[in-house]
């Protein structure tokens, strides 16, 4: 393969080539920009900050680590010293952090190069990447459809080939749902395994940095480089993260939960078909299906939106025009500075959630809303624990439907909130979830499933994902997965 085709490679193969000297650092980074981005980016609009000079410096400063020369698009809510970090919001217009997020620093230490910043719903609040001050990102498999959200930019970029790995953040499904819509892998790790230091907070007790890749092996590679305790994030788990070097072990002897009651109604038949197909792959490789009735979804959406908005209302208080970002020019006193800056700086969805969260925490409502939600959260966590006493992992939809059309749900916030129903449970419970792409539907749209496991089950989830990735063949970790990924074609 010529260096110009380097963008087609998995991160593992690309890093191998770079370390062996067959691919230059600069070529490794630029290949995705020259080939696929030239073709896709004007339509898809996955990237909001890019700078060839910064990339050139990044390539020059790269090293022979496990991600040598691997370009990574990171969501615009992860702090980077060499690009603006704006969370898709006008209120952070032009803001440049004086520090790198821990995960960004760890990427650089591993030899990766930040190839740019990915588009997102403003402050990660949304499920379609339509609520960005830079305009929407489109799904490369169908430009009339959304890429999912809120991490739609990195998901779409990894899908069309800008880079083999992307970083997003997942507060209620913001990595797993766009991964499903864009046909790539998307991991939300166990809460506390990836540092949140430098991730602009939305719902602190729910947020986790997540990984996009086109291959299960690349998710493992990035996870190994990023996971582990961080003294700068007091909520990271102590002790080393589970080792993923031995992840490709198949599923023989494992039991997977099959909560079919969850997709009895309101779920697209294409999604149900994908679940059956994934289950068949797992069974073919020696896993046992264990049907279970599982209903943590009942109160999960309400619980999630109370906890997330309450935390967000406080987390977003710091954007006031005093120290950084946008400041409304006509502010005679500090009150006016606050209200005008925040009214003009935040988009409507963010304002809606700040108001919801402020209300939930207010005197007289706190017990009824926030405290009740905390109690419900504890119950949901216990229900997951009980389920994982009966199975090693669980098969679930990542979203109730295939990618929907732009504008389809923006008028109905509640409808948009319900599209997170299968993903937000993992955030409430703090457990890992992994979206596994399957194939394309008859209409050419990506179909995917989600795997959920107990805390620190990432290696096991990756092994199961690999089984699905190779269609239930016996697994072997070949480093060139070219035949395993269905590239988008222009429609």
């Amino acid at each position: 393969m010529s260096a110009a085709e380097a963008w087609r490679l998995s991160a593992a193969s690309l890093a191998d080539g770079v370390r062996a000297g067959s691919i230059g650092y600069q070529e490794a980074i630029e290949s995705g920009w020259e080939g696929p981005a030239a073709r896709w980016e004007p339509d898809v609009h996955a990237v909001v900050h890019a700078d060839p000079e910064v990339r050139r410096r990044g390539a020059a400063g790269s090293n022979g680590g496990p991600l040598a020369g691997v370009p990574v698009l990171v969501k615009d809510n992860l702090c980077t010293m060499d690009y603006p970090t704006t969370c898709g919001s006008r209120i952070l217009g032009g803001y440049r952090p004086p520090y790198d997020a821990t995960v960004v620093a760890r990427l650089r230490e591993a030899g990766a190069v930040i190839t740019g910043k990915g588009n997102m719903d403003e402050f990660a609040m949304g499920s379609s990447t339509e609520y960005s001050c830079y305009g929407p990102t489109r799904n490369p498999y169908d430009l009339e459809r959304v890429p999912g959200g809120s991490s739609g930019g990195p998901a779409a970029a990894v899908a069309y080939g800008l880079c083999p790995i992307g970083l997003g953040s997942d507060t209620g499904g913001s990595v797993r749902q766009p991964a499903a819509f864009c046909g790539v892998f998307g991991l939300k790790p166990t809460y506390g395994r990836l540092s949140r230091y430098g991730l602009v907070a939305f719902g602190s007790s729910l947020d986790q940095v997540g990984i996009f890749a086109r291959h299960a092996g690349d998710v493992a590679l990035a996870y190994a480089a990023l996971a582990g305790p961080d003294p700068f994030d007091a909520t990271t788990r102590l002790g080393p993260a589970p080792g993923v070097s031995d992840w490709d072990r198949g599923v023989r002897g494992l039991t997977f939960g099959w909560p079919a009651n969850l997709w009895k109604e309101g779920v697209d038949p294409e999604v149900v078909g994908a679940l059956e197909q994934a289950a068949a792959c797992l069974e073919r490789c020696g896993a046992r299906r264990s049907p279970l009735d599982f209903l943590p979804g009942e109160y999960a959406v309400a619980t999630y939106y109370l906890v997330a908005t309450a935390e967000a209302s406080s987390n977003l208080a710091r954007f006031d025009g005093v120290r950084y970002g946008f400041r409304h020019p006509e502010s005679d006193d500090v009150r006016a500075l606050y209200t005008r800056t925040r009214s003009a700086g935040f988009g409507p969805e963010v304002q809606r959630r700040i108001l919801l969260g402020t209300y939930a925490l207010s005197a007289g409502y706190y017990d009824a809303y926030y405290l009740t939600a905390q109690r419900a959260r504890t119950r949901i966590r216990r229900e997951y624990e009980a389920a994982f006493a009966r199975c090693d992992f669980m098969l679930m939809p990542a979203a109730p439907s295939l990618p929907f059309r732009l504008g389809e749900k923006t008028d109905d916030p509640l409808e948009m909130y319900l599209s997170d129903i299968f993903t937000l449970g993992a955030n409430l419970a703090g457990i890992p979830g992994l979206t596994v792409p399957l194939d394309l539907s008859a209409a050419g749209l990506p179909r995917a499933v989600q795997l959920l496991g107990p805390e620190d089950s990432e290696p096991l989830l990756l092994g199961a994902a690999r089984v699905i990735e190779v269609r239930g063949e016996e697994t072997r970790l070949g480093r060139d997965h070219l035949t395993e990924f269905a590239w988008p074609t222009k429609r």
């Binding site: 230091y197 909520t235 406080s314 208080a317 710091r318």
Partner: protein, 485 residues
């Protein structure tokens, strides 16, 4: 009708830790504006707090000293309100499950031992500092310095246990002594190291239910606390006596003009929307940490004062003065182990404290010049009456200025204490010859006359005779005269 005031205090103690409460920035005072800052204490997007163990430890030690219950698991909380000098627009503090609960501070009020009960003590972060708007043409500009933002504070809340401003003054004095004693804070109110807000209400004397309270802020000296409270009690009393009702409000005390101004009324009261801080795990203080903190807790000032009274026989007043500062108490004990306890106490309370006051020295500055051993050497000579009193005071004066032991100082200043019988006998004989009257009186049984004769010899020696030797010689000569009769 007679009214009784009910007062509760909320104190903030700025800790003297090296770094800030939730980041590694220096917590020092007086640096260039906005130089001791980082993403965490500036509240930059994505930054996260991490709790300072030394500050928690200080809170634990204060809690232990006050007899509070220390929670094994306590919870940080966010207090949400917008203010330009608060970087995150919320303060990380503790709310529902604070680190220390209950306890009391022993205080001497007008010579009477009292104890004032506490609600809680916990650690939190300070805000930055705003500077009043300046005019720049047609624009007004306010400046904010974030060096103080994130500096560790302890919040201490009392029960409504005070009935008079003087009790509050005594409480704050005792609290200041305690935090200095524990070495956790400078405790200086003028420097903002100790701050105090007060809640005050009035009720008919002897009645149980509490009246409507007001809160006074900006009380930045102990005198200011007492004056501000007195003014507010007087104001409330007048309103009530005229049949009016007290309105819940927050007042600011202007110490320069000695007036109170309304800062905000009840309608504009904040809803702080407290909730548990999701960025920090539950604060766990295990038995090992508690045991270690207990082990490092010094003997407390009130315990030490009691021991000084019982062990060294000091009057309660002396014991109180000597335990006002821990290093003074240490200094005293170093002396009292070597010389007469009361003599050491007298010299410390009069001579040493006077020098400290005149020169504005700390005890550390004093003991750098005059370590206990040097003073002990002098006091031993005084106790043995080897040095005349005025000469001892003179030596003390030289000690402050110059190095060297007592003997060296005397030599350097050309003072020779006449201490041998050979030197002094002629003087003694001369005095006896010059004072036949007193000699007769003495021989007639009036032994008190000896003091007068000693004085005469001292005078004749130019104050350089050792009084002990003079006394012995006089007795010897006089007894000889008696036998000779």
């Amino acid at each position: 009708m007679a009214y009784e005031a009910v007062i509760g205090l909320e104190c903030h103690i700025q800790l003297g830790t090296r770094s800030k409460m939730f980041c590694g920035c220096p917590a020092e005072f007086g640096a260039e504006p906005n130089s001791n800052v980082c993403p965490v204490c500036l509240g930059l997007p994505g930054a996260l707090p991490r709790a300072n163990r030394a500050a928690i430890d200080a809170a634990i030690r204060l809690g232990l000293a006050l007899g509070s219950e220390i929670r094994g698991e306590s919870v940080f909380a966010r207090k949400n309100y917008f203010y330009p000098d608060m970087p995150k627009n919320y303060q990380i503090t503790q709310y529902e499950r604070p680190l220390c609960e209950g306890g009391a501070l022993p205080v001497t009020v007008d010579g009477e031992e009292r104890s004032f009960a506490l609600v809680r003590v916990h650690a939190e972060e300070d805000t930055g500092k705003s500077f009043h708007p300046e005019r720049h043409g047609d624009r007004r500009v306010s400046r904010v310095d974030f060096n103080r933002a994130g500096v560790p504070l302890l919040e201490l809340v009392t029960r409504p246990v005070f009935r008079a401003p003087v009790e509050c003054g005594a409480f704050l004095t005792a609290l200041r002594r305690l935090v200095r004693w524990l070495g956790i804070s400078g405790g200086d109110m003028e420097k903002g190291q100790l701050r105090c807000d007060a809640n005050v209400s009035l009720r008919p004397a002897g009645s149980e239910p509490l009246g409507t309270k007001t809160e006074i802020k900006n009380l930045n000296s102990i005198g200011g606390v007492m004056k501000g409270l007195a003014a507010e009690i007087e104001r409330q009393r007048r309103v009530l006596e005229q049949g009016g009702a007290i309105e819940q409000a927050t007042l600011l005390y202007d110490a320069d003009r000695e007036v109170l101004a309304v800062m905000r009324s009840k309608e504009s009261a904040h809803d702080y929307r407290y909730f548990p801080e999701p960025d920090l795990p539950v604060l766990v203080v295990d038995e090992a940490w508690l045991a270690e903190a207990r082990r490092r807790l010094p003997e407390l000032p009130w315990t030490r004062a009691a021991r000084f009274a019982s062990e060294y026989g000091l009057p309660p007043y002396d014991a109180g003065v000597l335990t006002e500062q821990r290093d003074l108490a240490d200094y005293y004990e170093a002396c009292a182990r070597e010389v007469d306890e009361k003599l050491a106490s007298n010299w410390l309370m009069t001579e040493v404290l006077r020098v400290l006051k005149d020169r504005g020295w700390t005890l550390a500055e004093w003991s750098e010049r005059v370590p206990p051993g040097r003073l002990v050497e002098l006091l031993k000579k005084v106790a043995a009456k080897e040095l005349p009193g005025p000469l001892a005071k003179q030596v003390f004066g030289w000690m402050v200025e110059e190095p060297g032991g007592t003997g060296e100082l005397l030599d350097r200043h050309g003072v020779r204490v006449q201490a041998t019988p050979e030197e002094l006998r002629p003087l003694v004989r001369a005095v006896l010859a010059e004072n036949p009257g007193p000699v007769r009186q003495y021989l007639g049984g009036k032994s008190a006359t000896l003091g007068f004769l000693v004085g005469q010899v001292m005078k004749k020696s130019g104050g350089q005779a050792a009084p002990q030797v003079v006394q012995e010689l006089l007795r010897e000569e006089l007894e000889g005269a008696r036998r000779g009769c």
